[in-house]
Symmetry: C2
Subunit: 232 residues, 2 copies
């Protein structure tokens, strides 16, 4: 792995070889196994991360122990930028902590850590990065907006919406087959419910001939019906 990997990261896509090399030399590369914690929301903030390989879930834990997943992050996307930018305003305040917990979802999840100071240095010389950062944050805001909209509806709606959104990512035809990139447990947690309920709703959808479930594969048999459920 070398500095060219950074070229895939939207934030850095306009940097030249030299700049990429310089940045790369100042980053930390870290590897995590499935289930390992990357940071807790109680830890002091060090910097933001980029996923290079594998996947990461960002989640909150409520006092009664239930976890709620906010995002899944996949290769070449960043996470935990919020404190970096909040810090910018209140210089020298170092008591910032991470806004949520994060855990690797796959074996050999490779991350790059970009420390606050490294990033600040870089932005000074490459202020156009700022605009990319803005658009990436805006995207996250829109995501959370729609996530809130989702979790205030009932579970079948949430699930139908999720299945359809996964379908949109794939090359969409009529009877499309999608493959869950996450465990059913994580899906339940992302949908703001629990394993048992997800299982029941999946079964219901299956009994109603909307989908067919086989392990992590879901075959969509009646997209119109799913659309109807998701939007009523």
């Amino acid at each position: 792995m070398d500095s060219s990997i950074l070229k895939n990261v939207h934030l850095f896509s306009d940097l030249n070889e030299d700049e990429l090399d310089k940045l790369y030399s100042r980053c930390d590369i870290k590897t995590f196994n499935k289930g390992e914690i990357i940071f807790f929301d109680t830890e002091p903030y060090q910097g933001f991360y980029i996923v290079i390989e594998g996947g990461v879930k960002i989640f909150k834990i409520s006092k009664d122990g239930r976890e709620h997943i906010l995002y899944f992050i996949y290769p070449f996307n960043t996470f935990a930028e919020v404190p970096l930018l909040e810090q910018y305003e209140k210089i020298k305040k170092d008591e910032f902590s991470y806004p949520a917990n994060s855990m690797a979802m796959e074996e050999n999840t490779k991350l790059i850590l970009i420390r606050s100071s490294v990033f600040y240095n870089f932005v000074e010389k490459n202020s156009h990065i700022c605009f990319k950062m803005l658009s990436s944050l805006a995207k996250k805001l829109r995501h959370l907006n729609s996530h809130i909209e989702t979790i205030t509806q009932d579970v079948p709606k949430r699930l139908a919406k999720y299945i359809l959104s996964e379908d949109k990512k794939s090359t969409a035809k009529q009877n499309s087959l999608i493959e869950l990139s996450i465990s059913k447990h994580d899906l339940a947690s992302y949908l703001g419910t629990i394993d048992e309920t997800l299982s029941r709703v999946l079964k219901k959808f299956q009994d109603d001939k909307l989908i067919e479930v086989k392990g992590k594969k879901i075959l969509i048999k009646d997209k119109q019906a799913l659309i109807k459920i998701s939007s009523f």
Copy 2:
């Protein structure tokens, strides 16, 4: 009202008189009465807004007609910046719409509309605004993060949390009196519940001698108990 009003807006706090004048001359001032819609989430995007007087609620409406409030916006804060920044990346795409609905909560709510083109022009000459924008977006992200955490808990927890957060804003003592800046209906909608349930929980808190409610005034009688409820 003149251009100096813009000085109160964090985003523009570092601009000089000249720049403020120039910006002000290119803005639209709009006034809304209580209950009037500022924009629907279906409308084509024009630009973002600054609240000068009054208050605004930002909300989503689910298909079954229930509204869910995401933010309340008060003087000198901005809203609806997200499409502006998404647009930046995909130049010339004009089909962006607003990410949610918005409505004036008070009579004579005064707003400034800053059209996308005006803002882009301005940023080109004042790139430091970019950093302010970043920190403002980061703040919103953190808000939504914690809002999601909140609405996945039960209603008494959500309410206790809200009351305590309102209390923190005021000059906090032991038995503090807070005044709701919003209607009970809006509070219910912000907490992701309905009027009846909010009413019942308020009564429960009152019966348990945690608070005393009189119209929009809430007297906190047992802050420790509220803290316990909010965090268990």
